[in-house]
C-alpha cells in the first residue's frame, strides 16, 4: 500500500536539497543520497514526493524492523513446504532494483545493514554505452543527527549528503502551514494545485535524463574538482567522482549540454561537505562550517557561491568562520557556566566504538539468525522452518505438516543499544570552592548528561569532602533529577579521596551491567591533595592503593586534575597512573571540551 503523498513541488524552501534529489533522479550514476535534519523538517515528505517523478520508479521502504534475511533474500518457505521446491525469495535489495530504496532513520539501523545497502546499490560502472545499468537502485536514507551519527566510512558511501534546514521567516512558515493544512483537510484541492507544476517537473526530469549522455565535462572543470577535493582534504576518489556525476546531472536539469562552473560549485556543496575531514572536536558543533584553513579559494569568481542557501558548505570564501549550529542542538551548556573559555589544545578522539552490541539476553532487535552452539536459547522459528523446508520431501513426517530435526534449529541474533554508566567522583573539598572550578565541573557533568539522551548512558554522582563520601545521584538518565542535585553541591572541608574512591567503586559495582560489554567509567575530578586518612596511613598513598584495586576491574577511568598554578604537584598524574586511566587538566579546557574528552577516553 502507498499513502497519498504531498507533491514534491509543494515543499517550500530547501532548494538545495531538492536540487540534489532531482539530480539523483536524473543521473543513474548517483547511487546514494543521505538527508539529514531534525524532526518535522520535511525529510520524509521530500523523499515520498519523489515517487512517480520518473515513470515506473517507486519507493521501496526499508523499515527499521527489517531482518538480514529479509534484506538479502532467503528460501521461499511456502514453495518449499507446499511443493517441496527450493526457490529463492528475493529480498528487499532485489525488489528495490530500478526503484528508490528508502531507509528512514537509517542511523538507527545496524551498521552492517547500512553497509550492505550501500554496497548493493553501487554495482560499479555499468557496461560502456549503457550507463543506465550503473546503479541497481537509488538508496535514500534520512536521519536526525540528534539520534546518533553514521560512521564516516558509511557517510562516504553516499554520493550526496543533504542537510535540510528550517526557517524562522514567519511568512514562509505560514505558507508551509497553509499548504500542509490544505493537504490534510482538502487533499484533492491541494494535489490539483500542484499538478501542473508536478507535470512540468516530470517533463524536465525526463528531458534531462535523455540529455545526460550528451553532457560533457570540460577538462578544466575536472581539474577544478580534483583541486577542490585535495584542498578540502578529502580522501579517496569517491568525492570527486560524485561531484563530476552530480554536476553533469545538474547541467542536464538546466537543459545544458555543457557543465558550467556553477554546476560544479553546486555539486561540490552537495557531495563534498560530508567528506571533509573535520577534527572531531569541532565537528560536533560545526559540522559544515567553513573553518578549515586548508580550503583556499579555487576560483576567484566563486565567492558568491551559495550565498542565500543556508546550512551549506561554502566552497570558497575568505576564512570568516561561520558558526553553523545544526538543528536541534541546544546551547553549549558549558557556556552557561563558564563563558568565554577558548580552545586550549586540539582533541583527537575516535568514533565511539560502543553503542551497538550483540545482545546476549533475549532483548533487542532481531536482526539475523544463526546455528546455535548448544541448546538454542532464543529460537528463530522462521529461520528454523526455512532450514527444515527443503528436506520435507525426504523426511518421515507422520501426522506432522513439517518435520523438524535438531539440526534445523536456528536461534535469533539480537542487537541492542547499550549505554554505559559513567560515575563522577567529585572533590567537593574547600579547594574546589573556587567558584569557576566547580562551575566547569558542573558544566561538564551536565554536557555529558545531555548527551545521555542519545547515547543511552546513565550518569551517577559521588562527592567527597569533610570526612565523608556521599552518593549524591544514583546512576540516572533523568536530566531533571541530575540538574537539581548538581546545582546544590556543597563545597568545603577536607579531602577524603580514598573514601571517595571506595564509594564510587561500590556504586559502579552495584550497577549491574546489562550486557557483557556494557561499559562502566569512573571520572575522578580532584586535585589529588588527599588529607583525610582512611586507616591511619598516608592519605594519598591509601588512595593510590585503592586506585590500583580499581585498575584491576574493567572500569575505564579518567582523572581530571583541578590543581592549578605553580609549582604543579603531580598527584593527579600519579592517581591516573594508579588507576590505569587517562589524565586531563581542568585549567586547560572548557567544560564542553572536557565533556568530549572524557567521553572519548571512556570509549576507547
Amino acid at each position: 500500500m502507498m499513502a497519498p503523498t504531498f507533491p514534491f513541488s509543494g515543499v517550500v524552501g530547501n532548494e538545495r536539497v531538492k536540487k540534489g534529489l532531482l539530480a539523483a533522479l536524473v543521473s543513474p550514476d548517483v547511487t546514494g543520497v543521505l538527508i539529514r535534519g531534525g524532526p518535522g523538517t520535511a525529510k520524509t515528505t521530500l523523499v515520498r514526493g519523489m515517487a512517480g517523478l520518473v515513470p515506473g520508479v517507486d519507493i521501496v521502504n526499508l523499515p527499521l524492523n527489517v531482518t538480514e534475511e529479509q534484506m538479502t533474500g532467503s528460501l521461499d518457505l511456502e514453495g518449499a513446504l507446499t511443493q517441496g521446491e527450493v526457490r529463492y525469495l528475493p529480498g528487499l535489495l532485489r525488489r528495490a532494483q530500478g526503484h528508490i530504496l528508502y531507509a528512514d532513520e537509517i542511523n538507527l539501523l545496524p551498521e552492517k545493514m547500512v553497509h550492505l545497502m550501500t554496497q548493493s546499490c553501487d554495482v560499479g560502472d555499468g557496461p560502456e554505452g549503457n550507463p543506465r545499468e550503473a546503479r541497481s537502485f537509488l538508496l535514500i536514507g534520512t536521519m536526525d543527527p540528534d539520534e546518533g551519527e553514521l560512521s564516516s566510512h558509511l557517510m562516504d558511501r553516499f554520493d550526496m549528503v543533504l542537510d535540510v534546514t528550517e526557517t524562522n521567516d514567519a511568512e514562509i512558515r505560514k505558507e508551509i502551514l497553509r499548504r500542509v493544512l490544505e493537504f490534510s483537510l482538502e487533499r484533492s484541492v491541494s494535489i490539483d494545485r500542484f499538478s501542473s507544476e508536478e507535470d512540468r517537473l516530470r517533463q524536465r526530469i525526463s528531458e534531462a535524463r535523455d540529455l545526460l549522455k550528451y553532457v560533457t565535462l570540460a577538462p578544466g572543470h575536472i581539474e577544478t574538482i580534483a583541486q577542490l577535493a585535495r584542498d578540502l582534504g578529502i580522501e579517496g576518489s569517491r568525492g570527486g567522482i560524485a561531484v563530476a556525476r552530480t554536476a553533469k546531472a545538474l547541467a542536464a536539469l538546466e537543459g545544458r549540454e555543457e557543465v558550467i562552473l556553477d554546476d560544479v560549485k553546486m555539486a561540490a556543496t552537495l557531495c563534498l561537505a560530508h567528506r571533509r575531514r573535520i577534527d572531531r572536536d569541532q565537528g560536533e558543533e560545526e559540522p559544515v562550517a567553513e573553518d578549515s584553513p586548508a580550503s583556499r579559494p579555487v576560483d576567484r569568481e566563486q565567492t558568491q557561491t551559495t550565498a542565500g542557501e543556508s546550512g551549506g558548505m561554502e566552497v570558497t570564501g575568505p576564512s570568516a568562520p561561520d558558526r553553523v549550529i545544526p538543528i536541534g542542538t541546544g546551547p553549549d551548556l558549558a557556556d552557561i557556566f563558564v563563558p568565554g573559555r577558548t580552545t586550549a589544545r586540539p582533541i583527537h578522539s575516535q568514533e565511539g566504538k560502543r553503542g551497538r552490541v550483540i545482545s546476549d539476553r533475549r532483548r533487542g532487535r532481531y536482526i539475523a539468525s544463526r546455528m546455535p552452539t548448544g541448546r538454542p536459547q532464543d529460537l528463530a522459528l522462521d529461520a528454523t522452518l526455512r532450514a527444515a523446508a527443503p528436506f520435507q520431501g525426504s523426511r518421515e513426517r507422520g501426522e506432522l505438516a513439517v518435520s523438524i530435526l535438531p539440526s534445523d534449529l536456528r536461534e535469533k541474533v539480537r542487537m541492542s543499544k547499550s549505554g554505559s554508566t559513567i560515575i563522577f567522583l567529585v572533590d567537593a573539598s574547600g579547594s574546589m570552592g573556587v567558584k569557576e572550578r566547580m562551575a566547569t565541573v558542573k558544566g561538564t557533568v551536565l554536557t555529558i548528561l545531555t548527551d545521555a539522551y542519545r547515547k543511552r548512558d546513565s550518569v551517577g554522582l559521588v562527592i567527597f569532602h569533610r570526612n565523608t563520601a556521599d552518593v549524591l545521584l544514583q546512576p540516572t538518565r533523568s536530566v531533571h533529577a541530575a540538574y537539581k542535585k548538581l546545582r546544590e553541591i556543597p563545597t568545603g572541608g577536607r579531602t577524603p579521596l580514598a573514601l571517595g574512591l571506595i564509594k564510587a567503586n561500590d556504586l559502579l559495582c552495584s550497577c549491574r551491567p546489562l550486557g557483557k560489554r556494557q561499559e562502566r567509567s569512573l571520572v575522578v575530578i580532584s586535585d589529588g591533595r588527599a588529607n583525610v586518612p582512611l586507616a591511619g596511613g598516608d592519605p594519598f598513598n591509601e588512595a593510590l592503593d585503592i586506585a590500583r584495586e580499581i585498575s584491576r576491574t574493567t572500569v575505564r577511568t579518567v582523572v581530571v586534575d583541578t590543581g592549578t598554578g605553580m609549582p604543579r604537584i603531580d598527584r593527579g598524574e600519579r592517581l591516573a597512573r594508579a588507576l590505569g586511566g587517562s589524565y586531563l587538566r581542568l585549567e586547560e579546557m572548557s567544560s564542553a571540551q572536557l565533556a568530549r574528552t572524557i567521553r572519548a577516553s571512556a570509549e576507547t
Partner: protein, 346 residues
C-alpha cells in the same frame, strides 16, 4: 454501548481539566498526534486514559477489513481493501467503537510490528501475516504506560509507523504493509528518566499533572474512589448521562471539525508564537493550529479564534522548547498568555 465493568468513569475524575481536555482534543482530531501525560504516581494518569475507552464514539470502518481501515479514504485503504475494490466488490461501512489498545512495556518486536503466523505456516505450509499491536491500534488509541521506560527498538517501531501512518513489516520472511494511524497516548513519571527527543517530538500535546490540590477536592477524590470500589456498577450508573453527554460533544465536534483552513490571523499567531519562543520545527506550528481547531470544535465553533490558539499553546509548546532544557519551568504559562494578549489583541 458496551460498558466495561471495572473501569472508573471518565466523568468522575475530579479536576485534571487540562489532561482531560488534551485527551478529548485528540479524540476529536486524531491528527493532533497524541498526548504525553507527565506526572508523579497516583495522579490519575492511567485511570484517565483507560476510562477514555468508555466515552469514545463509534467510528466508520470498512466492513470485514482486518485492519479496520477508516471509511471514505480509498487512497489510504490497506492492500486487502484495495484488492477488494479492484475486483469490483462494493465495500460496506461498519460502525465500530474506538478502542484503547495498550502496549505493554515487555511487548516484543514481533508482537508490536506483527510477524509470520508460525502456526499457520506449520499447519498449512503457507505464509500469512499475523498482525501485531500496530495493526490493532489503527484508528484507535495506542496507550503506553511508562513510555519513557520502553525499549529503544520498540520506540523505533512506533516512530517508524507514526511517521507515515503505515506499518511496513520486513521480517521473518514476511513482507507486508498496512495502515497504522493511531493516537499515541503515553504516561510517564519524569523522575524515572527522560524520553528520547524524537519520541517526545512525536507527541502532539503534553500535559503535566500534579497531585496537589485543595483539601475539598482531595476529599472528593477519596470519597468517589471509595464508593466506586464499594459498588462499581452503581457508581458508574450515576455517571452514565454525563458520559453520554461528553460523547455527544465529541461527535458534534468531529462533525464540524476541519471544514475550512483557519484564517490568516490564526496562522500568523501560531507561527509568531513559535518563532517568539524559539520553537524549532514546523510540526509545532502545525500542531498548534490543529489543536486550536479541535479546541474550537469542542466548543461548538467551526471558526478558530485567537483565544483557541491561546488556550492550547500551553499543551503544544512546552516540550518543544528544547533550547532551555534545564530551566525549572520550561514555559511560563502566564508570561506566554500575557505576551499573546499583547501581541495579538482580539
Amino acid at each position: 454501548m458496551e460498558r466495561c465493568r471495572s473501569t472508573y468513569p471518565f466523568a468522575a475524575i475530579v479536576g485534571q481539566e487540562e489532561m482531560k481536555e488534551a485527551l478529548l482534543l485528540n479524540v476529536v482530531y486524531p491528527m493532533i498526534g497524541g498526548v504525553l501525560i507527565r506526572g508523579e504516581k497516583g495522579t490519575a494518569k492511567s485511570t484517565a486514559v483507560r476510562s477514555l475507552a468508555e466515552i469514545l464514539p463509534r467510528r466508520m470502518v470498512v466492513s470485514g477489513c482486518p485492519f479496520r481501515c477508516a471509511w471514505g479514504d480509498p487512497d489510504r485503504y490497506c492492500s486487502y481493501c484495495q484488492e477488494r475494490m479492484a475486483s469490483g466488490e462494493q465495500l460496506v461501512v461498519e460502525h465500530v467503537p474506538m478502542r484503547v489498545v495498550e502496549l505493554p512495556l515487555n511487548a516484543t518486536e514481533d508482537r508490536v510490528a506483527g510477524t509470520l503466523d508460525i502456526e499457520h505456516a506449520i499447519k498449512t505450509g503457507k505464509k500469512r501475516f499475523e498482525p501485531g499491536l500496530l495493526a490493532a491500534a489503527n484508528g484507535n488509541i495506542l496507550y503506553v504506560d511508562e513510555v519513557n521506560l520502553l525499549d529503544d527498538h520498540i520506540v523505533d517501531l512506533l516512530l517508524d509507523a507514526a511517521a507515515m501512518g503505515i506499518n511496513y513489516v520486513e521480517r521473518e520472511g514476511v513482507s507486508f504493509a498496512h495502515p497504522s494511524r493511531f493516537i499515541m497516548v503515553g504516561t510517564m513519571n519524569p523522575e524515572e528518566g527522560e524520553l528520547r527527543p524524537q519520541l517526545l517530538d512525536r507527541f502532539g500535546l503534553t500535559v503535566d499533572v500534579s497531585g496537589d490540590m485543595d483539601i475539598g477536592k482531595r476529599k472528593e477524590i477519596v470519597e468517589r474512589r471509595i464508593s466506586f470500589e464499594r459498588d462499581p456498577d452503581r457508581f458508574r450508573e450515576a455517571f452514565f448521562s454525563e458520559e453520554d453527554r461528553i460523547r455527544d460533544d465529541i461527535i458534534s465536534a468531529q462533525n464540524i471539525m476541519g471544514r475550512s483552513i483557519p484564517s490568516d490571523d490564526v496562522l500568523e499567531m501560531a507561527v509568531q508564537t513559535c518563532v517568539h519562543l524559539g520553537v524549532d520545527g514546523h510540526r509545532a506550528d502545525l500542531t498548534l493550529v490543529k489543536a486550536a481547531m479541535a479546541s474550537a470544535a469542542m466548543r461548538g465553533r467551526d471558526k478558530v479564534g485567537k483565544e483557541d490558539v491561546q488556550r492550547v499553546a500551553g499543551m503544544v509548546l512546552p516540550h518543544r522548547m528544547r533550547r532551555t532544557p534545564f530551566e525549572e519551568s520550561d514555559l511560563n504559562q502566564k508570561e506566554l498568555n500575557a505576551w499573546m494578549c499583547a501581541r495579538f489583541p482580539s
